[in-house]
């Protein structure tokens, strides 16, 4: 932990909070480019191509399906403590619709359930 100049970002040790690796920046810019493509692409397409309702239905399930695809193996690798915490997050989301409260409950749940189960 080297003492950095007293600026607000110096809380983070070593490599430097302001470090910008050129390769990381390139990857981030590539991510930004494809994201912009998706954001402006839709309007461009509806002016030029007629999307079938069938294709739209398929595209509309993508966000949820991808979230589930990420979650599945991750939950499968966990145990009762992780599953209980996941259930707790769903419950708090349903009751409060607050992502912050749900995450706080979930993280506390993981720590607690791991100690108990």
């Amino acid at each position: 932990m080297t003492a950095e100049p007293a600026n607000a970002l110096s809380v983070v040790p070593s490599s430097g909070a302001l470090a910008l690796d050129p390769f990381v920046v390139a990857v981030v810019l590539a991510m930004a480019a494809v994201t912009v493509l998706t954001k402006v692409g839709g309007i461009w397409i509806v002016r030029h191509v007629e999307l079938s309702d069938r294709l739209e239905a398929g595209l509309s399930v993508l966000p949820g399906a991808i979230v589930i695809a990420v979650l599945g193996p991750e939950l499968a690798a966990g145990g009762p403590a992780e599953w209980s915490a996941a259930g707790l997050v769903v419950l708090v989301m349903w009751k409060t619709e607050s992502i912050l409260l749900a995450l706080v409950a979930g993280v506390l749940g993981v720590v607690g359930f791991r100690a108990l189960l």
């Binding site: 970002l9 809380v11 983070v12 040790p13 909070a17 302001l18 910008l20 990381v24 920046v25 990857v27 981030v28 991510m31 930004a32 494809v34 994201t35 912009v36 998706t38 954001k39 402006v40 692409g41 839709g42 309007i43 397409i45 509806v46 999307l51 309702d53 239905a57 398929g58 595209l59 509309s60 399930v61 993508l62 966000p63 949820g64 399906a65 991808i66 979230v67 589930i68 695809a69 979650l71 599945g72 193996p73 991750e74 939950l75 499968a76 992780e82 915490a85 996941a86 997050v89 769903v90 989301m93 619709e97 607050s98 749900a102 995450l103 979930g106 993280v107 749940g109 993981v110 720590v111």
Partner: protein, 269 residues
Amino acid sequence: MEANVEPTDSSEANDDRQVSGTDDPQPSDANDDPQPSEPGRTPVTFGWDGVCAGFLTCAPIAIGVGGYGVAFGVLASQAGLSVAEAALMSAVVLAGASQIVAIELWADPIPVATIVLTVFAINLRYSLMGAALQPWFQSLSWKKVYGSLFFMADENWALTLRDLQSGNGRGAFLLGSGLAIWVFWVLSTVVGALVGGAVGDPTEYGIDFMLALIFVALAAELWDGRSSIVPWLVALAVAVVASALVPGQWYILLGGLAAAVVEVIRYDG
């Protein structure tokens, strides 16, 4: 946070009304492309009032989005990104779920193709959401439309659609509400990245499992009732099997695409 505002079923619901617009202030709309009559009724303007209205309406929600931002910042710094790199990603990508997945995929060396493809797949929904705004945006210049769409996120898109449908004609609402999201998203990322750098062993605080928890919360929001059951089961099954058989993180795309393909096949109008 992802308010469930259904895109207007414009092509069907409004077809029979398209000839009613005798007082249509935008004659350019009157081509053979059937457009909903509502958007044409009020001229869509693009000005400061729209920016301000959007910003103020969205600010409380943007603060809530900051919850994700803090979480993203923590995860990004755990993955080895600097505060500046995490903030840059939030500033130029501005698409929460895809950023969090990208961080999940982050490794040394960085799997560039997997990350970029996955980000693209997750954000494909923005194409549909953007397309839903076309009836109101067609009278605006491309600069304004593209500039506004950069700031489109799930939350402010829903707010914007609601505002435009109510006939306010504030074309800059998307830009204003998006700016609110952008400001809080970047700030909260910085906060999260600073906190994440100060956290030592992640398992001690249950942070190692936080990404999964964020996705549980995301899933709870994206749940669309019964229609979600089949695609989600397909995605789950394919992802779990693929993660065991296919190296790398391709199971995410495979699960998502399998669900989309099944949905296309079983679609019955």
